[in-house]
């Protein structure tokens, strides 16, 4: 498929076309992502796996509008974000993407409820009442009794569930998760994955998970492998099942 071929945009949540990321190191330069082309259909759960230094996090940063590609195009929900400036990228992140991180990254000074309400407060056109929506999402994730707790008063699994609720605050079509279970024990990790599956089931959200844990990857619909900034494998688990 070529970038000009937009016929399937309606069904594709994330599209990367010949994406490169080159960074300067001293006098020289280093190519981290080398011409990746990838389509992620709406509602799909995709795992990106690969060894350390393979470019997983960089790719996720590019797909999530945290960084811009040196070459190539990236479309999110049909919008080309490749040349966007920081101002517009921020709006895209607020409206189109939810992020879940390995270290949860909740704002330590805010309660669970306020953490979840935060993206709605900063939306240009908020779709929900911040507190109502936050309460609803926390209930969905089984955290209704922890709404007024500060992050440090919650366990790792609970923090991650609050982080997922925050990621869903503005009802984004795409959820990007960077090692979401990396800082959790197996049981909590599984609970988080179950929560993601449930979300996909109920909201048809596209979920992209970067992980090095194959047992997690195996629970996704599709797994792509990355090595030296290039896609080396793309397999559909559903088909295998």
């Amino acid at each position: 498929m070529t970038p000009s071929d937009n016929s399937n945009h309606a069904n594709v949540a994330v599209r990367a076309v010949e994406v490169h990321k080159i960074v300067r190191v001293g006098e020289g330069s280093l190519s981290i992502i080398n011409g990746i082309t990838l389509d992620v259909p709406c509602g799909q759960m995709l795992a990106i796996v690969g060894p350390s230094g393979s470019g997983k996090s960089t790719l996720m940063g590019l797909l999530g509008g945290l960084d811009t590609p040196s070459k190539g195009r990236i479309y999110l929900d049909g919008i080309d974000i490749s040349d966007m400036n920081e101002f517009h990228l921020t709006r895209v992140r607020n409206e189109k993407i939810g992020f879940v991180f390995q270290f949860f990254h909740l704002i330590p000074t805010l309660t669970a409820l306020k953490n979840v309400a935060l993206p709605i407060r900063f939306a240009v056109h908020p779709k929900y009442d911040p507190h109502e929506r936050a309460r609803e999402l926390l209930t969905l994730l089984g955290m209704a009794d922890r709404t007024h707790h500060l992050p440090r008063q919650l366990s790792g699994g609970q923090q991650q569930r609050v982080a997922i609720a925050r990621a869903l605050a503005n009802d984004p079509p795409i959820l990007l998760c960077d090692e979401p279970t990396g800082n959790l024990d197996r049981k909590s990790g599984q609970q988080v994955i179950d929560a993601l599956k449930e979300i996909r089931r109920r909201l048809n959200t596209t979920v992209i998970v970067v992980t090095h844990d194959l047992t997690i990857a195996e629970q996704m619909d599709r797994v792509v492998s990355l090595e030296d900034g290039q896609l080396t494998e793309d397999r559909s688990i559903e088909l295998e099942r």
């Binding site: 960084d67 921020t90 992020f99 990254h105 000074t109 407060r121």
Partner: protein, 1089 residues
């Protein structure tokens, strides 16, 4: 609104969680706010004191002042002098004669029969006659000022003071305790100083062996706030007018039915029946029209004058307070940088969920504003408390008890300034916060702060310059604006600078991507352009660094050697360029791209400065032409604000230069050998890794140290200098003054001095009051006073204020002269070629030596001129040939130690001197014996030791330096808080490092010792630079004022003491936070940090 609430809540939470970090940052600002509030409150107390009870301060509705230097008057003094209404009293001042007093009083009573007139008298014209008081049976005369007052009028009503009342410490009125002519009242400071008690019997200078009894003690405030500031130094005693006949030079033959020729008045006080301000003003105006030689000062005039003084004082204090606040700002900038660095991931998260850069900036801005508000909340009560506690000190300076005044203005000013300074100092870190990239969220261990970027940096600089410039403008107004003629050029220069800064910034911004691109990505022309640019840039950079080091070298050489010669300047130039070259080479070797980019940027900047300059000038000129003519007021405001902004720019450039030097010093210090001690090594490394913070903290601390050490050492050095130079100037160690001026007295005095053991040499000195008649130049020109004033005016470059000052100084210089024995020791003076000291051959000749003070030099008096002077006591007019104009850089102090003009003692034919004295060089051990012999063999003498005079000078210096000392202590405290803040930040940042060290088995004491060594070193550096700079400045001041080396006067002990104080402050400040940090459990730190 919801967002604002979020910002506030989030910031408050962060401040709460920050605990120690927040505490110290808040304290930094609180210390500055406290200094501003306390100094402003003190200023307001002073304002209150000076502008209320004006009738009491003026001693009447109108205070009539005779002609004297520095006091404005409408007309000439000559007719009044000829009419016998006033008489010269020396040093250019006049007193009202009894005839004058009565005539003015008659004139007043004719117009307002119910008016009351009172006087502060002066019973004799000689300055010696009413100086001094000695306790019964003691030889030593204490220099206490005598004030002759009329306690009651002829009807027995108290008339001094006309308004208000003066009560003794036990609550009695002057009229109640001063019943007999021999009853006196002394001021509390004189009583304390000389151990005087009620009931003590004393001799008064000029009143022979008559005993007076002390009947009461009054607060110094009774006179201090009127025109008698000098009483705060020496103290005073009141003696009644009825005591005048008891004085030795009272001449009954001068008393007629009409006048009493022994009575003189220094000032006349009038209470009018109608005290309506307009009526008082009209009355004063009429009085002044009738007697144009007087200054009739109304309460409104006094209020204006006092308001001006108090406002100037308050502004000065505000500036001093602002310095503290700016030092505190260093703490804020450091704290905010650490806050941002520690929260880069959090910022990145906020950006990933939709916060724009400006929203992040606003979030952190609110946090720093909240810190400013908290600083204000904490600082204001401290400031008020400090003002309350310090009002006693301040009262001592001004000689009055200050009443407590709650000044809402001071509180608001301190509070707002705290917030403004916090905001502008927090601005840079908050902009940095906005620049954090959202991608950082994926690399949580990367806490490297992003750079601000060219535009943001320019914005910060502009905001800082403009805000501080506006603050400076509100304080200084048009104080630093140039005269109208040069305005256009200065504003054009300002416009050029501003524009070139902007254009330069644009050039760098535009040039950066070009320079960043790799050569292989460029075409042939691009490659050539790039290399040309880089080569020029590198050369330019080398040159710039060379110039920088050259300038530093020259300044250092100038400070150390006090002389600049061609070889030293050339040496500094060569060394500077070599260092610049080395640095550039080193830069090229290690980071070629950075060095080249910088160089290229600089070239772009330089080119744009030239271009911007041309455009700026082209725009500035029409702007001036148009605005200046169409709206001069707006133009004036623009000029004033621009000048203040330029002042701030200049000050900040200096600070930046100092910062750069400190940065280098910290870098050099961190490379010191650690002598194999691991603790020292870790401490040195820590200094290096936190260079920015260490340098900025040092900068704040050094300003405090510099202020304190300069004030302290200058005071000590001036005192010591006074001790050294006083004996040289006087030509001996004892000064003898006599009450009589007859030939017999002179002979008795000579006899005692000739026959007392231990007298090495002596010089007889007679003192005459003189009036300047004319100056006859060698070329035949005859110059009257008005001609000389014109000359002075020309030499002052048309500056009216300076002309007035120099004219007064000139009047003072020629207002009295000494006769000196030319065969004995003469004052130690320097003479240029063509000028000389008096010598033995001059005996009996009318030749004089004149102190070459600034007024004499401005009037163009030189050797060979003939100075014609009139002696009012005899009416004689004598001509003196000037043989020497001495080379004096310190005219004021030296003329105070003797008259600035002297001639051979036997050159004054019939004129009787106003005073006779002698300067004696005598063995210390024989002073007592000389004093005893003089008191028995020569009538009415008193002996002052040079040491004693210098003690008085020292007290004066102490009094004047008390306030600066106080302020510098407060500034240093702020510096100490900034250090404590820096240590707190440093330990917080290094919790993990401390945890690792402890987990490796390093004991708490060693961790503590490392932190203390590190901060002790910082204190040492601060002390070394601060104290060292003040020593160098002192040497420079010495070199500037005097020729020759006076390094003896540098108080080395004090300097070392101050150094120890600096180390002490930094170690204590470090201890405050390091103790807790070193006690952390390693597991806690490693797990949660």
């Amino acid at each position: 609104m919801q967002r604002l609430l979020f910002y506030t809540e989030h910031s408050l939470n962060d401040l709460r969680i920050g605990r120690l970090r927040t505490l110290f940052a808040v304290l930094c600002i609180a210390a500055g706010v406290a200094v501003v509030v306390s100094l402003q409150t003190l200023g307001d107390m002073m304002m209150e004191k000076l502008t209320t009870n004006l009738q009491e301060l003026n001693r009447g509705d109108i205070n009539i002042i005779p002609p004297m230097p520095g006091v404005e008057r409408q007309g000439d003094t000559e007719p009044a002098k000829n009419a016998g209404l006033i008489e010269p009293a020396g040093a250019g001042a006049f007193v009202f004669t009894d005839k004058g007093i009565r005539e003015i009083e008659r004139w007043i009573k004719e117009r307002d029969p119910d008016a009351v007139v009172s006087y502060r008298h002066q019973f004799a014209r000689s300055p010696l006659a009413n100086a001094g008081l000695s306790k019964e049976g003691q030889d030593e005369t204490e220099p206490v000022i005598g004030l002759v007052i009329e306690v009651k009028d002829v009807q027995g009503n108290p008339v001094y003071p006309i308004y208000g009342e003066i009560r003794t410490e036990d609550g009695q009125l002057l009229s109640d305790v001063m019943r007999e002519p021999t009853d006196i009242v002394v001021s509390d400071n004189a009583a304390d100083e000389h151990d005087l008690k009620i009931g003590d019997q004393v001799n008064l200078g000029g009143a022979g062996d008559r005993l007076f009894t002390i009947r009461g003690i009054v607060p110094i405030e009774a006179e201090a706030l009127t025109d008698n500031f000098v009483t705060t130094i020496f103290g005073f005693y009141y003696v009644d007018l009825s005591a005048v006949p008891l004085y030795t030079d009272y001449d009954p033959s001068l008393v007629t039915d009409e006048v009493d020729g022994n009575r003189y008045a220094g000032q006349l006080y009038v209470r009018l029946s109608d005290t309506d301000p307009e009526q008082v003003r009209l009355f004063a105006q009429q009085l002044q029209n009738r007697y144009p030689f007087v200054n009739a000062r109304t309460t409104a005039d006094l209020r204006d004058r006092n308001s001006q003084i108090a406002t100037a004082l308050k502004n000065l204090m505000l500036i001093m307070g602002l310095v503290s606040l700016l030092i505190g700002g260093v703490g804020i900038i450091n704290t905010m940088l650490v806050v941002v660095a520690r929260r880069t991931v959090e910022i990145a998260v906020l950006k990933t969920i939709g916060l724009q850069a400006r929203q992040v900036t606003l979030l952190f801005m609110i946090e720093s504003v909240l810190m400013g508000i908290l600083g204000g909340v904490v600082g204001v009560p401290f400031g008020l408390f400090a003002a309350w506690a310090l009002r006693g000190f301040a009262g001592q300076v001004w000689g009055t008890e200050l009443d407590w005044v709650f000044s809402s203005g001071a509180v608001i000013r301190g509070f707002l300034l705290g917030i403004i300074i916090t905001t502008i100092f927090g601005f840079l870190p908050t902009l940095i916060a906005g620049q954090v990239r959202p991608g950082n969220v994926l690399r949580p261990n990367d806490t490297q702060l992003p750079s601000t970027g060219i535009w943001q940096s320019l914005l910060v600089m502009t905001v800082i310059f403009v805000t501080l410039g506006l603050i400076a403008w509100t304080i200084l107004g048009n104080g630093i604006s140039p005269d109208p003629a040069s305005r256009w050029s200065i504003v054009s220069v300002g416009a050029v600078l501003a524009l070139s800064l902007g254009m330069g910034g644009a050039a760098v911004a535009a040039g950066r991507p070009f320079l960043k691109r790799r050569p292989q990505d460029l075409g042939t022309m691009g490659k050539i352009g790039r290399y040309v640019l880089l080569t020029i840039g590198t050369l330019f950079q080398t040159g710039l660094q060379g110039v920088l080091f050259f300038a530093i070298g020259v300044i250092l050489i100038a400070l150390v050697t006090t002389h600049l010669t061609v070889p030293t300047v050339l040496g500094a130039l060569i060394v500077g360029v070599l260092i610049g070259l080395l640095l550039s080479l080193n830069g090229l070797r290690t980071q070629p791209s950075l060095a080249m980019t910088m160089g290229g940027g600089l070239v772009g900047f330089a080119a744009m400065v030239v271009l911007g300059g041309a455009i700026g000038a082209a725009m500035g000129w029409p702007a001036y032409e148009w605005l200046h003519k169409s709206n001069p007021d707006t133009w004036q405001t623009i000029v004033d604000v621009s000048m203040n902004i330029a002042l701030v720019e200049a000050a900040l450039i200096l600070v930046a230069l100092l910062f750069a030097v400190l940065w280098l010093l910290v870098e050099l210090t961190s490379r010191f050998p650690s002598l194999g001690l691991p603790d020292v090594k870790v401490s040195l490394r820590a200094l290096s890794s936190n260079r920015w913070r260490v340098s900025s903290t040092l900068l704040g601390f050094i300003i405090g140290v510099l202020a304190l050490s300069l004030v302290t050492m200058l005071a000590i050095a001036v005192k010591r200098l006074f001790e050294i130079s006083l004996e040289d100037t006087l030509g001996g160690n004892v000064f003898v003054a006599t009450g009589f001026t007859s030939e017999e007295t002179q002979n008795s005095l000579v006899n005692v001095l000739e026959t007392t053991d231990g007298v090495h040499s002596y010089t007889l000195v007679t003192n005459y009051i003189t009036d300047f008649v004319e100056l006859r130049k060698a070329d035949g020109r005859v110059m009257k006073r008005t001609d000389l004033i014109a000359v002075i005016g020309r030499s002052a470059g048309g500056d009216l204020k300076r002309t007035q000052h120099l004219t007064n100084f000139f009047d003072l210089t020629v207002g009295q002269m000494d006769g000196r024995s030319v065969t004995s020791t003469l004052p130690d003076k320097n003479f240029d070629e063509g000028n000389r000291q008096l010598n033995a051959g001059d005996a009996g000749e009318r030749v004089i030596v004149i102190t070459g003070n600034e007024a004499v030099l401005a009037a163009g008096i030189e050797a060979g001129d003939i100075l014609v002077l009139e002696f009012p006591s005899s009416g004689e007019i004598l001509k003196f040939r000037v043989v020497g104009v001495s080379d004096e850089r310190l005219g004021d102090i030296q003329s105070a130690a003797g008259s600035p003009i002297y001639a051979p003692i036997d050159a004054f034919s019939q004129t009787r001197p106003n005073a006779i004295g002698a300067v004696v060089d005598i063995d210390e051990s024989q002073i007592g014996r000389l004093r005893r012999r003089l008191s028995t063999e020569v009538d009415y003498t008193f002996v002052i030791e040079a040491k004693r005079l210098s003690e008085l000078a020292q007290r004066l210096i102490d009094q004047f330096t008390l306030l600066p000392f106080l302020v510098s202590i407060l500034t240093l405290i702020t510096g100490g808080v900034v250090i404590a803040n820096s240590v707190a930040l440093s330990t917080m940042e290094r919790r993990r490092e401390i945890g690792i060290m402890k987990s490796l088995g390093v004991q708490r004491e060693r961790v503590l010792s490392m932190l203390l060594i590190e901060n002790g070193l910082m204190g040492f550096l601060g002390g070394l630079i601060g104290v060292g700079a003040s020593v160098l400045l002192l040497i420079q001041i010495w070199a500037w004022i005097f020729e020759g080396d006076l390094t003896d006067a540098i108080p080395i002990g004090t300097a070392l003491g101050l150094m120890a104080l600096c180390i002490g402050i930094s170690v204590v400040a470090a201890m405050l936070t390091a103790w807790g940090a070193s006690g952390e459990k390693p597991l806690n730190v490693l797990r949660y940090e």
